[in-house]
């Protein structure tokens, strides 16, 4: 029976489960969950065709709170499980939920290869720069000097930059947002619209073990001077009178680096401000490496330039290799080097 179910628009409520959410009160994960539940109806998602797959960590509890199919897997391995799910059923809309430890430490290998292969899915990396679920050890994205139970004298190793890692791994979509940002649904929509692996780093405030580490750019106060929201085809402008004047990002033609320039009277052209082009990979490399402080935090869609997906390629090859062949296992078994032993005779 193929009864056509009339397409009914969902509401955010339709994406909520009956499970009690168990994150710490005030955790940034709540805001991200809400943003995702708000986004799903807007992208026309259907719960039964959506799968959330996570690893281990605070963020990885996420699937239990989404009224979709969900798989809470093991530490670091969500990309691998997701690969099997998507190859087995490419019609599913696959979302990977992971954290900085899950995706970049124990699961770094899988993250790299998922991006390299370009599996069609969304990867939401909740970056709180700490191991929350294990009570506060420093993580691969923790800043040098982070005091934690395992680094009582401060961490000494340099952190990874998730978006730079993603680009280096061959990602074709790289975006950034943060938990309480009103722009987060817009970033998620862009990620979903991208066919291929869409990597989204979401700065997430761990209020217990790493409180407010992103406040310097995420705090509402002075936000416009600290946040560069990138939009394709628009000049890279930030700041206002209040924050000390409108500024822009320009190219230092001598050093081949980015620089901050003042924009006077809105004349960004003569200041040399760059117009954002999401397909410019070189630019994306510079944006993900832009040091905060000297520069604003680059947010939004940093890079978006689709390429053929892994799942499409696998299925196309499965089909082309199968074309014109009638699978007959009996014949296959009887193929090759065979001989017949006659009744009542020893082997010939």
């Amino acid at each position: 029976m193929n009864d056509m179910t009339p397409v009914k628009a969902t509401t955010p409520k339709d994406w909520e489960t009956d499970q009690e959410v168990r994150w710490c009160p005030g955790c940034g994960d709540y805001a991200i969950l809400k943003a995702v539940q708000r986004t799903m109806p807007e992208i026309g998602g259907t719960p039964e065709n959506t799968v959330f797959i996570s690893g281990i960590g605070c963020s990885s509890r996420f699937p239990y709170y989404m009224e979709t199919y969900g798989f809470h897997t093991i530490h670091g391995r969500a990309p691998a499980v997701a690969t099997g799910v998507k190859l087995a059923n490419p019609d599913l809309d696959v979302w990977i939920i992971t954290g900085d430890g899950d995706a970049l430490s124990i699961g770094g290998n899988h993250t790299m290869h998922l991006l390299r292969r370009n599996l069609d899915c969304q990867i939401m990396l909740f970056n709180n720069e700490i191991y929350g679920l294990t009570k506060g050890q420093y993580s691969p994205t923790s800043r040098v000097g982070t005091n934690s139970p395992s680094t009582p004298y401060g961490s000494v190793d340099r952190p990874a930059t998730p978006c730079a890692f993603a680009l280096g791994s061959g990602a074709r979509f790289v975006a950034r947002g943060f938990d309480v940002s009103k722009n987060l649904p817009e970033v998620l929509k862009a990620a979903h619209a991208h066919r291929g692996a869409a990597f989204i780093e979401i700065f997430q405030n761990c209020i217990v073990y790493n409180k407010d580490v992103f406040e310097d750019f995420a705090a509402p106060k002075g936000a416009d001077g600290h946040q560069l929201w990138l939009r394709n085809g628009e000049p890279m402008l930030f700041g206002s009178e209040k924050s000390g004047g409108t500024k822009g990002i320009a190219l230092d033609n001598v050093g081949l680096t980015l620089k901050v320039v003042d924009v006077v009277d809105g004349d960004w052209q003569s200041a040399g401000v760059i117009v954002h082009d999401v397909t410019n990979r070189s630019l994306a490399h510079m944006l993900v490496e832009m040091p905060f402080g000297e520069f604003p935090m680059a947010l939004g869609v940093l890079y978006d330039d689709p390429r053929p997906t892994f799942n499409d390629a696998v299925i196309a090859q499965n089909e082309s290799a199968s074309a014109g062949k009638a699978p007959d296992l009996g014949k296959l078994l009887a193929k090759g080097q065979t001989w017949t032993v006659a009744e009542g005779h020893p082997e010939t």
Binding site: Q19, Y64, Y69, T73, A80, G84, A88, L329, P346
Partner: protein
């Protein structure tokens, strides 16, 4: 049925001197003859003569200038030193130097060596080493079907193909399909090996035969030192030549070792024996498993997803399945062993048959994910082609030392069915059985083979697929009358399998302990007790679906049972057969279903006065039998990377009684 495993007997030494003309060898033969006397004495003591001739026939063939006779002679020496019986057949052209590359310029040396009396040089080579197209052309016809060709592709250029009157390259036109082919650029590898000695190209290439001999020595696990000594003596006046030849010899040996070519290399000749009528083919364990998995997926009505990562000796399964896409198979070479199993679990979650395969070290890496499959109760087949361990161990040698890992090797109480194949042919039925259990009980299943089984080829009476009972999977597609519970259970304790994409049955699963029925996260003490019990009972219930343990030879109540599993089947069978022929009250039991065991096993084992368990490990099945049945199973162990000999098991039977 013919023995599934070539019987191996204690060696008698009977040096046939034909083909050996060198002074240095005489010493070895003299030494060998002395040892032969000892061997004869042993044989008289043991009171029987070998009934079957088990041997390997190798033919070295190349251009007259390639030094094939020298190579063959040295190989013969190594056979003598290894205690083999042998006979040789040098076959060289009349011309001292026939024109290079021509058909009539081919020189060949054949040796038949084995573990029992050898009377001829062998009718059909099992292995043909062909140094150029002409050598292949003139010799391949006599190679036994399924035999192995080792060829130097460096010589397979258009000029040499023309000289050999090949109209197309035999490696590319499919004309060698009935043999196994290992073709690689021996010329280039030799040049590389002797580079440090600064010889001209022509002289350097003359070391090719020693490179080839090095590979052959590796293939048959021979000592290089006698050949090195001989080279040093031969080129005593030209140390560079000696060193270059030794370097080539070592390089060939190292190539075999590092390229992990053990696969098709060990070829045993087994005499024809009466066999049931029907269509036969040769099959290796890796092929047989691959076909069995395909058959299993068809019987279940599922598409298959195979996640693998290259590892010796398991890669062959990935290779075979990747060519069978038209059977609804997706193969995925993952970034590591963990991703291989996790992707298979993901595919099972999405409604396909997830399969992964590896060998010991890779299986260890998959352990945590097996726990996930157990916890989420998804079907999965894990094939373990065991090799010598621990750690990297002996990648190309066979061993049965992963039984503990299979049965006990996961965190938590993590029961999982385990079955073991006894031979290449048996792999087919075992793979079908693994798939059946996986889907009928919603559980991962481990299928054990070993390096020997995976790579060995044997004749196979092609099965009639109509004779296999289908076990079609029924996915849950709508809400049951009493509501949908992801961990509700049927009478076997199986939970429903729901494909994502199915409306109305949305649910979440994961590795955290589940609440009974609902599958929600639940850490409550009573719930964990209940779920642990359910997982254990469910796997034990598999015993309801498997046949009683049979006794291969003999019956319950004998004085001694020899209980084996896996690839020890051949030597145990032969040893028990011989002992029974002598009137000894001994039986052979071979276990396929290792976890859970057949229901009659306790009663059966307790009917014997004594039980011995020969294994290529330090006593792992022995432990399980003691643990499960409180029987006084006694270990008979061998961990040399080599299979048991029949005589070793006969001796064990003797000392047990």
């Amino acid at each position: 049925m013919r023995p599934a495993y070539p019987p191996i007997v204690f060696l008698t030494l009977q040096c046939a001197a034909n083909g050996i003309r060198r002074k240095g060898i005489k010493v070895a033969i003299k030494d060998g003859l002395e040892r032969m006397a000892t061997a004869f004495k042993d044989e008289q003591t043991s009171g029987h003569t070998p009934v079957q001739s088990d041997a390997v026939v190798v033919r070295f063939a190349g251009d007259s200038g390639d030094g094939m006779q020298l190579t063959g002679g040295q190989f013969t020496l190594s056979s003598a030193l290894a205690g083999n019986d042998f006979a040789t057949f040098p076959d060289f052209p009349a011309e001292i130097r026939a024109p290079i590359g021509t058909l009539f310029g081919v020189s060949a040396f054949q040796i038949n060596f084995g573990s029992s009396a050898i009377d001829t040089a062998g009718d059909q080579p099992d292995v043909l080493i062909a140094m150029n197209p002409a050598a292949l052309k003139t010799n391949v016809g006599s190679l036994r079907e399924g035999g192995l060709i080792i060829a130097d592709t460096g010589e397979f250029n258009q000029r040499n193909l023309d000289k050999a009157k090949y109209t197309s390259n035999p490696f590319e036109d499919g004309s060698l399909a009935k043999w196994q082919v290992l073709a690689f650029d021996i010329s280039a590898l030799t040049l590389e090996a002797v580079k440090p000695f600064g010889m001209g190209n022509k002289d350097a290439l003359r070391c090719k035969n020693m490179w080839t001999l090095g590979l052959a020595l590796w293939m048959f696990d021979r000592d290089r030192q006698p050949i090195i000594d001989w080279l040093n003596a031969k080129f005593a006046k030209n140390q560079i030549l000696a060193d270059a030849n030794i370097a080539a010899l070592n390089a060939g040996h190292a190539y075999g070792e590092t390229a992990e070519l053990a696969g098709p290399l060990k070829q045993y000749h087994v005499d024809a024996a009466p066999a049931p009528a029907g269509l036969y083919r040769t099959v290796t364990g890796a092929e047989s498993i691959s076909y069995g998995l395909v058959a299993g997926a068809q019987l279940a009505g599922l598409k298959m997803f195979f996640g693998g990562y290259p590892i010796t000796p398991a890669s062959a399964i990935l290779h075979h399945l990747s060519r069978l896409k038209e059977y609804g198979i997706t193969t995925f070479q993952a970034e590591d062993e963990i991703a291989a199993i996790c992707s298979a679990i993901g595919a099972s979650y999405a409604g396909q048959l997830g399969v992964t395969s590896s060998s010991g070290p890779g299986i260890a890496l998959k352990g945590e994910a097996m726990g996930l499959a157990i916890m989420t109760e998804l079907p999965l087949v894990i094939v373990n082609s065991q090799r010598g361990g621990p750690s990297t161990g002996l990648p190309t040698k066979t061993e049965q030392s992963d039984l503990y890992q299979a049965v006990y090797g996961r965190n938590g109480d993590a029961p999982m069915p385990v079955i073991a194949a006894r031979s290449p042919v048996d792999c087919f039925d075992c793979a079908v059985e693994a798939v059946r259990i996986a889907v009928e009980y919603m559980t991962p299943v481990m299928l054990l083979t070993d390096g020997y089984i995976a790579n060995a080829a044997e004749p196979w009476l092609v099965p009639d697929l109509e004779e296999y009972t289908p076990f079609p999977v029924e996915f849950l597609e709508s809400v049951p009358e009493d509501g949908f519970k992801p961990y509700a259970r049927d009478h076997k304790l199986k939970r429903p399998w729901v494909k994502p994409g199915t409306p109305g049955l949305l649910h979440r699963i994961g590795g955290i302990e589940k609440e009974v029925d609902t599958g929600h996260i639940n850490y409550a003490p009573a719930n964990h007790q209940a779920m642990t019990d359910i997982r254990s009972t469910k796997v034990n219930n598999v015993a309801d679906s498997i046949p009683d343990q049979i006794v291969e030879q003999g019956a319950a109540g004998a004085k001694l049972a020899v209980v084996g599993w896996g690839s020890t089947y051949g030597p145990i069978k032969q040893a028990v057969r011989r002992k029974r022929a002598e009137g000894v009250d001994v039986v052979h039991i071979h276990i396929r279903h290792i976890w859970p065991m057949p229901k009659n096993m306790a009663e059966l084992l307790k009917s014997f006065d004594k039980v011995i368990v020969p294994e290529m490990n330090t006593g792992q099945l022995k432990t399980i039998l003691r643990d499960q049945f409180l029987v006084d199973a006694q270990p008979v162990n061998k961990v040399s990377g080599q299979p048991f000999t029949i005589a070793e098991i006969e001796a064990a039977i003797g000392s047990a009684l």
